[in-house]
């Protein structure tokens, strides 16, 4: 099989044999897969400098089986560099994809969300909300879509003025109904997340709490090292624990 100029990102690379590189990529139409970049670690290699995470690339490869050979790579957009906190966030989304996506499953809508997060991280603009949208779409792609439109018990539309308890794998239930022990969020927050509209600070904070619980359920006992690193930096910088 030959794939020509497929849009994609490098998630991670690992040295392979003497001079090659094992490249884990996330592509628009072919999802996540591993490619072998032969000779990429040699000094004269012209693609080593391109095979970095967070660069929008056009990748070509050929071969069947577990490890196709990367035949070409070029920049798709201007070179973009993530720095500081933004780089850590980049590691976070890459870690999520590495842990949670199966290989060779196409996820083109998620790819667009990923691209948007990385773009925002590169431009150093407010990325938190793009991150939430990415997480929401990731869960949907994994088959654990959130039900943000209707009350899980009454099936009525979410009331923006009510307070809800969001129970994983069940949905939102009005707090006044009692008996449910989920994440407490405003109805308006659920609607905002559903419509992917611009959120105010309060809704962002609520979504962050909600998504953290949801993502953690998918991760199980797996620890996200980027999150740990983020926490460590925040503690060092602000003298307080990141929650």
């Amino acid at each position: 099989m030959r794939v020509h100029q497929q849009p994609g990102y490098v998630l991670h690379t690992r040295p392979y044999r003497e001079s090659s590189l094992l490249v884990e990529v996330f592509t628009k139409d072919h999802g996540r897969l591993s490619l072998l970049a032969k000779g990429a670690r040699q000094l004269k290699s012209r693609i080593r400098g391109l095979l970095c995470p967070f660069q929008s690339l056009l990748l070509s490869w050929s071969g069947r089986g577990e490890l196709p050979i990367l035949t070409a790579a070029e920049f798709d957009q201007a070179y973009a560099e993530l720095t500081g906190e933004h780089r850590l966030c980049g590691f976070y989304v890459n870690e999520l994809l590495m842990y949670l996506l199966h290989r060779h499953d196409p996820h083109s809508r998620l790819y667009d969300c990923y691209r948007q997060v990385v773009d925002r991280l590169a431009q150093s603009c407010d990325y938190e909300w793009s991150l939430r949208i990415f997480e929401k779409n990731l869960l949907r792609e994994l088959g654990y879509a959130l039900n943000l439109e209707y009350d899980a018990t009454t099936n009525q539309a979410i009331d923006p003025k009510s307070s809800y308890s969001y129970v994983p794998e069940f949905g939102a239930v009005k707090v006044t109904a009692g008996g449910y022990n989920g994440v407490i969020v405003n109805g308006s927050t659920l609607i905002t997340l559903h419509r992917e509209e611009l959120a105010d600070e309060y809704a962002k904070a609520e979504c962050k709490r909600l998504m953290r619980v949801m993502i953690n359920r998918q991760l199980g006992r797996r620890v996200l090292h980027s999150r740990k690193l983020f926490g460590g930096l925040r503690v060092a910088a602000a003298g307080g624990a990141e929650r």
């Binding site: 044999r17 967070f54 920049f75 780089r87 090292h225 690193l229």
Partner: protein, 198 residues
């Protein structure tokens, strides 16, 4: 068959070396056993010796036979300069470049969340301690110019925030003798971002 087992064990052991796959390991094993038994004994003895005597320098963390490596023990090196590198091989490269006369700190790796390597797995605590002892004017962060190397550099900068020390990073860009036409586009793009006035 015990003899076959010994050959298999040797091949398996050789494959632990970086860049050695099954074919190379087989070639090496047969070469040593068929043609160079003397050499094989020499290698075995050298490995044994090294494993027993080489430890980490207690100041800079590099591999050393003495408690303090030659560079750390040297009175000719500038104590006020500290160059932080990822590996002993990187230290050797900087030494061979012949432009640096300060001292080193070797992290023995880099921060890489996707490989599960965090600051606690590196010698960063010891680096922090070394820096807080004072006497260092400038820290030159010479970690690799990869995302992991940059993340490590960031972390080092963060831990020096509260200390009165200048932190610098290796410049990146067009290699000496480099012709733009043949250069990889990533390096060229970074060289543009980091351009300077002349």
């Amino acid at each position: 068959m015990a003899d076959v087992y010994a050959i298999e064990a040797l091949k398996k052991a050789l494959r632990r070396l970086p860049g050695v796959g099954p074919k190379t390991a087989r070639r090496m094993a047969f070469h040593l056993l068929e043609r160079d038994r003397e050499g094989a004994r020499e290698i075995a003895a050298a490995i044994n010796q090294a494993v027993q005597t080489v430890t980490h320098c207690r100041r800079c963390n590099t591999l050393s036979e003495a408690q303090l490596c030659d560079i750390c023990a040297s009175a000719k090196r500038d104590d006020a300069l500290l160059c932080v590198v990822e590996t002993p091989a990187d230290l050797e490269s900087v030494e061979q470049a012949g432009v640096y006369s300060g001292k080193y700190f070797v992290l023995m790796g880099h921060i890489s969340p996707l490989d599960g390597i965090g600051p606690d797995d590196l010698g960063i605590d010891r680096l922090r301690q070394l820096l807080s002892n004072g006497g260092i004017r400038e820290v030159i962060v010479a970690t690799n110019l990869t995302v992991e190397g940059e993340a490590t550099a960031d972390y080092i900068r963060q831990i020096t925030d509260t200390l009165d020390v200048k932190v610098t990073r290796l410049a990146r860009g067009v290699p000496v003798g480099g012709e733009l036409e043949y250069m990889d586009h990533g390096t060229l793009a970074q060289a543009f971002n980091d351009r300077r006035s002349i």
